[in-house]
Symmetry: D3
Subunit: 289 residues, 6 copies
């Protein structure tokens, strides 16, 4: 369960939940049997294979691919030639495999689907990270992720040089406009939270205006999110706060505007696209003899 190799970002812990996901992934693809393989490949046949990058990319998810083949067939050997988060160039061999031909064929698509999607997230994240290069700002993910893969997607963000916002509704308090309205104002919402919340969790408050920003500061928010503000408004907010609490910019961030947002002086920029709109990178597996 603990990560097997050292990385300069928090590794992915292969939990029961991830193992179940991978088992389910193979079940989803294989169903009652990989009929083409069962009918064309002699069961004892063994082969070698390579996984290759068909475009420039950052790698993420190798440990998951290893686990897929381990679940599918305990005897497949797979060796990755790159570290997590490393840049791989088009045409380079990402990994070499050896094992039962049937197992290689039955597990191929699942392993590739995971690698190409997580590497896609890492690759896109890195573009945002590069775009703000040199500025004291962190690129954050959000909870906008197709269900089922959150901890993996958030890991891929880390592999790409980004940082994680909270994992779910349980490990951080984020008071949004809906909470504020329903609770009767920022002050009251923060007070209720302060009274009962676990002492290791911070309170972030989403604000839409300078008025709300002042309220949030007065209420004692630990972090403030500037929701969908323009660059000028963000600058004003940075001035008002002047370092008392960290500021997160959120909403309508893209590769074109991310640097100008960063230049406002906010501490963090969260980008939903990292996890909900990253294209898969192109990776293929070729089985040799």
């Amino acid at each position: 369960m603990p990560p097997k190799e050292y990385m300069n970002f928090a590794p992915l812990q292969i939990t029961k939940s991830i193992r179940s996901f991978l088992e389910g992934a193979l079940a989803e693809d294989i169903g009652c049997g990989d009929i083409t393989t069962l009918l064309t490949i002699d069961a004892p046949k063994r082969s070698e294979a390579v996984i290759k990058a068909k475009q420039d990319m950052l790698l993420a998810g190798a440990a998951l691919a290893v686990e897929v083949f381990r679940i599918g067939d305990g005897e497949t050997e797979i060796v990755f030639g790159f570290s997590e988060g490393a840049t791989v160039r088009e045409g380079e061999v990402i990994a070499k495999l050896q094992g039962s031909t049937s197992a290689l064929l039955s597990c191929e698509r699942v392993a590739l689907n995971i690698l190409q999607q997580l590497s896609g997230i890492a690759t896109l994240t890195n573009k945002y990270v590069e775009a703000v290069n040199g500025l004291p700002v962190k690129i954050l993910d959000t909870r906008k992720i197709m269900p089922g893969i959150r901890s993996m997607a958030k890991y891929a963000v880390r592999a790409g040089g980004g940082f994680n916002h909270r994992s779910g509704l349980y490990d951080g308090m984020l008071v949004k406009d809906n909470h504020i309205a329903a609770c009767g104002g920022i002050k009251r919402a923060v007070q209720r939270i302060r009274k009962s919340a676990p002492h290791l969790l911070k309170v972030e408050v989403e604000v839409k205006s300078m008025t709300e920003l002042h309220e949030a500061l007065a209420a004692g928010a630990d972090v403030i999110m500037l929701d969908n503000m323009g660059v000028n408004a963000m600058k004003e907010a940075v001035d008002i706060v002047s370092g008392r609490v960290p500021l997160e910019a959120s909403g309508n961030v893209n590769l074109e505007n991310v640097r100008s947002i960063a230049e406002t002086g906010v501490n963090m920029i969260s980008v939903g696209a990292l996890t909900h709109s990253a294209s898969a990178v192109d990776i293929s597996m070729r089985i040799g003899s």
Copy 2:
């Protein structure tokens, strides 16, 4: 379990597996508790809410959103104003909700994540379908989908006007280069399959050259996939086959080249991007009083 409304494409059957997925989706987000909501919202409070499109889009996944709120709180009412596959314009209200404020807040993100991702797939699919408008060709999906959501993603392709390739390795036989190599040629692979395969499944053979095309035809393939061929090669293949079996074009298809591929006369074009690289559409939920 059976679909509740009529559509001009096969509806999504809400199976045990999908119900488990949705339960797992809420568990993934809520974990041991939506702490912000638990601490700021009085449990008996009830609210209304709307889900709005923030861009032009095709809708897909309404039944899943309904199910999410049903799992989260049996008493939330949700009414969609558009049919599945319908076009929704920026700013239009997609659905109206009414129920426990806590439940609305705790389920919001999961419901939106599913809607925005499936609608994204439907929307992208429809762009491909429009691009080949008027030509006798079907746009197909592939198995290149992040695990866990396959039947939902394939449904979204149908909602966008596309068609489904096989669901997995179990409901269709597709002899690829790796099978051919390991088995000793197209002829032998098809023969082995013909001898034992269930009689309701067809055999598709992937070919990379005219030589292989002739072999596949001679071996009695039911369908032939032209893998990564150029437009001229595809035209030649169409001429050779001249309608004896359906032809599927596959590999490196994009919105720029899809029409010229379609004009070669192939019967189907499969596009991995539909499911592995569709951007989420922008949808939000706003809770009223």
Copy 3:
């Protein structure tokens, strides 16, 4: 996961679902503990054992028995002396085991229950196959199987020389009388399917009369099932179709009439009894010192 030995029929893929079935099988029998064994056997004691046929039979399910002991106790060694589908005579030793006495005793009944039931299906199937020996017809199974064991039961049919009809409602289209009635006729049903169905699945239509047979042919059915027809009607149907599509005979087939049905010239005969009424064969395990 892939099969470990070569066979002249498609092997059983030991999927997650089958592994769960076997774990559940042990849980069902052992519950909170095999109390007789826990109280009478010293935990470190090890024994040898043999599994013997107590009647003539065809063997099916060896890989599952191996897996049962592997789940129950990772250290039990078990070696089968016969291949799957092989004939075993009364009194012959089917397999030899060696391992923890407790594990052998706690797993015995589950392993035997599976072996005796699957071998029973293979043995009965083979009687049907022998009964039509020399005729160009395939013996097929149906979906009439007690839930939970379908892929295993269908594998046992293959081991006995039979062939599989579709695995479920998802991997083949079979238009039955109820569909025809509800849809408004054979023609309309087949048209609706043709318009949307995945291109690797065939359409089979069930017919009860020559009128329906002509309709099915005209509608373009890929396969036609003759439901509960007498031998003369079947012959007439064979003449009418004269090879344009394969014909499946279905309904009230037994060992007495199967050959005369086969002699009508139908291509396939499906037999529910293979899986819903096969007697278990008699197999026992004896533990030595």
Copy 4:
């Protein structure tokens, strides 16, 4: 969960495990979708249907069929016209249904598979019970049952007038030859059990000879099983024991010899065939308009 109607034998408790079995049963058959139904039936269409006996039979499993349709579609109404364990004649209507046509079609096979198999067990059990009519003996089942359905199969035995042996290895102690050998004799095995066993469980000892019978009596067995003895040996055993403990006859029992075994005076006769070799009864469902 508790049984809904009174019966003169212990009803089937619909536990979590049975509900999971039924959900799994539908998942096994429907997979990613009942494609024929999805493509031919308009979702809002509703129909009536009847389930009919196509042979004389005893009914068992109605509550499970009800549950199958409840899981598949909460709105299907189903009314059974016979009580559990009642005799149904060929041609009689067992149940009437009303609901979504799609749901009826998608759930039909699963519901019928369960009804036909459990009714088959009840019907066969009743033949054994009738065969010993008037004699003071109980017909018992065994643990020889295909995994996954044990509590349902044992219920069907009760519905047929039989009695249940232990449910598994956890709710009764049965010292068999293998335990005796490994433990060092009947006396020592029974002593070890007596010392530690829960006080509500009895100890049954399997014996193969009069010598072992005497040992078992001396050791204080609560019940003794006569394993594979001939009728004369059983009579001798009955004389020796002369009512001190109940005697169970086991091994090679069939409908031909069961009455003569009963006439030896044994108290119970266990019959593996009840659950491992009962033929399914023939039941069908017809959907009306």
Copy 5:
């Protein structure tokens, strides 16, 4: 899923995980059937019942008991006469029930087991809370809880007036001696965490001496835990820190010493006994006619 009634502490969210726990709880007790009830109670019989306190206690877990009976039998009505966290005196009726006699009997023990254990935790917690009455200190729980019931046990602590430490290893960072040793000192550990940790989680550092306390302050710990210090050392620590960060006292806290610990001026006192050593309170259910 959202809580149904207002409370002055965070309610328990009935998540999928809790629902599974309750289903498993009934399965654990009922197994293949509540045989005494099945054999003695006519299925249609209905009864009323009361749950009574047999000692003074604080109530916790009512919503779970309601859910147990809902899972066991959808038709049982249960009304609680006290709010969560309320004091109940010996002999008072906690709840009134009405429903199927069988269901009441089959679910009784599970519902009571949960109520008596959670109320036991709330009752014990409240004794600690009362013991520090008037002092500005919070009583905290720990992660020392038998697995499977953590979110419920932590809820019971809240119902008793206590506060929750982190829920698990995922929603708060607590650097303990082992981390410090393995990482090379407090400074380095906190630096590594600061560099990468999600921005809504605080860092608590466990210290055993004034030296470590100074290191933790210098490293920028958000919270400091005084591990197993004596009262004098704690006072010294409070003086040193003088309000810069909150201080948590931990280790060997009991009802005798908790007030003197509180009087040192620490902000929080964590007590393992709340969840690992609380006695169950005595509650019984009596079924009327």
Copy 6:
């Protein structure tokens, strides 16, 4: 699955259900990741550790701790220095471990939580056993146990020298006052049970008075439970029964009165506190370099 070492009481069978419990235990604590460890410990680092008793105690649950580390990290070695049920003195090393530092830290709390709770049950049980030392009476557990851990808790009772009452509602018949009332008297209840019950299960009847005692004897109860009787009443009951059936004393038993209850001559004394109110023993893990 079978126990690995000999003990003079029935070992704990590590069933699927227990393995799932342990996997769930780690999932409950680790959630989406042990963030402190992931951020402070280099993944490849390995350490040694010891588990120590911090008070005198009886050990129970070693096999479960071994399994926890096996699930968490296949490569952790753990060696226990004491047998199950053995007395460990304060300060003694219970077990030595060696493995990945990350895995040791991530699994520590779960392993300790189980060990400290089960050892707590064994330790408390043993106090009751010692209190009746020399008298011919057995100390029994009950079903009053927090759900999820029953088979483990009952094992800990055995490890402490106690005996197990039935495991659940399925492996023994216990007719309580509620059954008697609902069924119409002791006689009728026992008759209904006798008519249908599995022959390896005994019938225990709970009585509250000498009148009921006589009824239970007359009805043929196998065992009689004296519910909440005083010592004098128990003596009278022992005289009345005079050895015809075993007697179990139940209700309000504690360490002060257990010996006087035993001296009445009852055969068994059941004690709910063993499992619902045992304090955890104090155990800690220390990681070395």
